[in-house]
Amino acid sequence: MSTLVVGLGNPILGDDGAGWRIAEAVACRLPIQSGCVTEAGQSYSPEDQSVSVECLGVGGLSLMEHMIGYDRAILVDTILTGKHATGTIYCFPLHELPDLKTGHLSSTHDTTLQNALQVGQSMGAVLPDEITIVAVEARCVYDFSDELTPPVATAVPIAVKMIMELLK
């Protein structure tokens, strides 16, 4: 099984950078195989599965295009539900997404990820059967900063551990 882990967000927009931090930490925990996949990612291939890690600031069609060819995707992002404490970690399948607002999974400048996935499927693209979202409740995503707020920073290693469990 091939799996793509995508850290989403903006690394210089405060808590919005949490997706990248988590994905980068996941990449560091993977045994290094030859070559990097993208700017912040790397891949490895144990006997029965391969894992690639990417850090992106895209959504919609672009995100869909990055997932082509993978069996499974784990999307890591921040989320603003306002219902739970900052730093709360969520893990849910993509089809549960419409109830929640995120900044990147449904980039509105092209189309929503759900629409983009349908477009890809219509075109015959091979897309993941299983898309899981790991999201951290954020607080500060409107100020430029390369630092996370303390509750979000605390959540990063916990989310990393959660993703490593998913990858087992």
Binding site: L13, T108, T111, V119, C140, Y142, S145
Partner: protein, 489 residues
């Protein structure tokens, strides 16, 4: 008692824009406000960093047009170091940029604008998206859109080192060139791109221009504003996305001047309004007269349409033919019907595609002379490119070590804040009368007023001194505050 209608969040718009429409007791539009919680403090974030980091940092401002920020930052950094990239360096940057334009304009037409015209502005929202377009016009077109995006991204990757966030432009040029094999590959993609752009123009002609209802909508008064047009032009006043001077053309078509990047502060000033933190740029030489049309009002717009209005034509042959057809069809220059921005965008798509082939077949494009080593002491510089959604200006000041001391950005969409606000207001007044039932389709037609500008407020940031909580004040028809929104940050 006034009634408030809120469109929030704005469908298919990056960022978190909000439109407020206030109705008076008679049920007519009393006023409209278009408000954007802006991102804050980018300039402050940059101060203290080396200027050569800016092409990498600024393309992180927003995920929609990182290539535009990369280029404007690189040009500003060239100016700071008083260094001119060699010809091959400029050609390569423009080639990368043409690939980016090809992707961006394709996406806008098929994913954002297309649904309004192909499905119709009053179609159910569930159908009014790219999926609806594909189902209506055929899977083949969907495949072409995906292919177009793939090629555009690939050109960016070959020259820029990465697919989305390029990293090769530095003060004085680029860190790498391209091989003959890569040149051939880009040229082949360029030929495909020209065919695709022509196909897209034909599609627009068949579906939009061939439909009287849509044509009436485009040519009607609802979406028309008489404002100044600006756009980057070369030495022959032809459209150029990467280099040149900014041409300024009056509503009657008279060119009142052109300004070089380092002269922008002589031409552009910014208006502050009490109801939003985002500023409204206007032409300093004309002056701010409010949100009004006309030659005496300094309001200008910066879009594909304004670029055509501000120029004397295109440098590539097929795009020039389309340029002439455009003005012949719409009654001569300048064109003020804002929905014609969609058509102008497709002409630019064709120009970008033709430019890819022109640049990829230039004898010097594979030369290893793509960088000039800066030797002068860095001081201050301005870089301007045309972002797909408007003129993009980066202005940096540094100390003698090249460490940033001041940064100012005027991003593409910010230029259009005043005309977008005016377009929303006019569309709302034209469509909502005497308490008529406000339908989803009607609200979408109000949204269409600003969607033509392809706005993206994700990067519409500006320097804010000290700590300033973001709050948006909503007023009723009498100017009384009825609600205050705050970002919890």
């Amino acid at each position: 008692m006034s009634t408030r209608i809120t469109i929030d969040p704005i469908t298919r718009l990056e960022g978190h824009g909000r439109i407020e429409i206030f109705l008076n007791e008679e049920g007519n539009v009393a006023n409209t406000y278009f408000q954007i919680p802006e991102l804050r403090g980018f300039e402050r974030f940059c101060v203290g960093r080396p200027v050569e980091e800016m092409p990498l940092l600024t393309n992180r401002i927003c995920g929609v047009c990182p290539e535009a920020h990369h280029m404007a930052a690189a040009k500003a950094a060239d100016a700071v170091y008083h260094v001119e990239p060699p010809r091959t360096g400029k050609l390569l940057r423009e080639l990368l940029y043409s690939g980016f334009y090809f992707t961006d304009h394709t996406t806008h037409f098929y994913a954002l604008a297309g649904p309004d015209f192909v499905m119709g502005p009053t179609a159910p929202v569930a159908e009014r998206n790219i999926l609806g377009v594909i189902h209506k016009v055929g899977l083949e077109i969907g495949g072409k859109v995906i292919q177009a995006r793939k090629y555009g991204h690939h050109i960016v990757e070959i020259i820029g080192g990465r697919k989305v966030h390029p990293c090769t432009s530095i003060p004085g040029g680029l860190t790498k060139g391209i091989t003959e094999e890569q040149r051939v590959e880009i040229e082949q993609m360029g030929h495909w791109a020209i065919e695709f752009a022509q196909f897209s123009l034909q599609l627009f002609s068949d579906i939009v221009l061939g439909n009287k209802e849509y044509l009436d909508l485009i040519l009607g008064d609802i979406y028309t504003h008489q404002t100044y047009s600006i756009g980057l032009v070369d030495e022959n006043n032809k459209v150029n996305f990467y280099d040149g001077k900014v041409s300024v053309v009056a509503p009657d078509g008279e060119r009142i001047g052109k300004y070089a990047p380092n002269e922008y502060t002589d031409w552009i000033a910014e208006r502050v309004e009490p109801w939003t933190y985002l500023k409204f740029p206007y032409l300093k030489k004309v002056g701010w007269k409010g949100f009004v049309d006309g030659k005496d009002s300094g309001v200008y717009f910066a879009t594909p349409l304004s670029r055509l209005n501000a120029s004397d034509g295109m440098t590539t042959p097929i795009a020039q033919e389309q340029y002439e057809k455009f003005y012949a069809t719409l009654g001569g220059k300048p064109v003020h019907q804002r929905l014609a921005i969609h058509w102008a965008r497709l002409i630019e798509l064709l120009y970008a595609a033709e430019r890819i082939v022109e640049l990829a077949t230039d004898p010097e494009i594979t030369s290893p002379n793509f960088h000039t080593v800066p030797t002068a002491t860095p001081t201050e510089g301005v870089g301007i490119v045309e972002a797909p959604r408007g003129t993009l200006t980066h202005h940096y000041k540094t100390d003698e070590r090249g460490i940033l001391t001041e940064v100012n950005l005027i991003v593409g969409t910010t230029n259009n804040y005043a005309p977008i606000s005016m377009s929303i207001n006019k569309a709302a007044r034209s469509l909502i009368h005497n308490g008529s039932v406000v339908t989803e389709g009607m609200l979408n037609m109000v949204e269409m007023a600003f969607r033509a500008y392809d706005p993206c407020f994700g990067c519409a940031t500006h320097s804010l001194p000290g700590q300033m909580p973001l709050e948006v004040t909503i007023r009723d028809a009498n100017g009384e505050t009825v609600e205050v929104l705050r970002q919890h940050c």
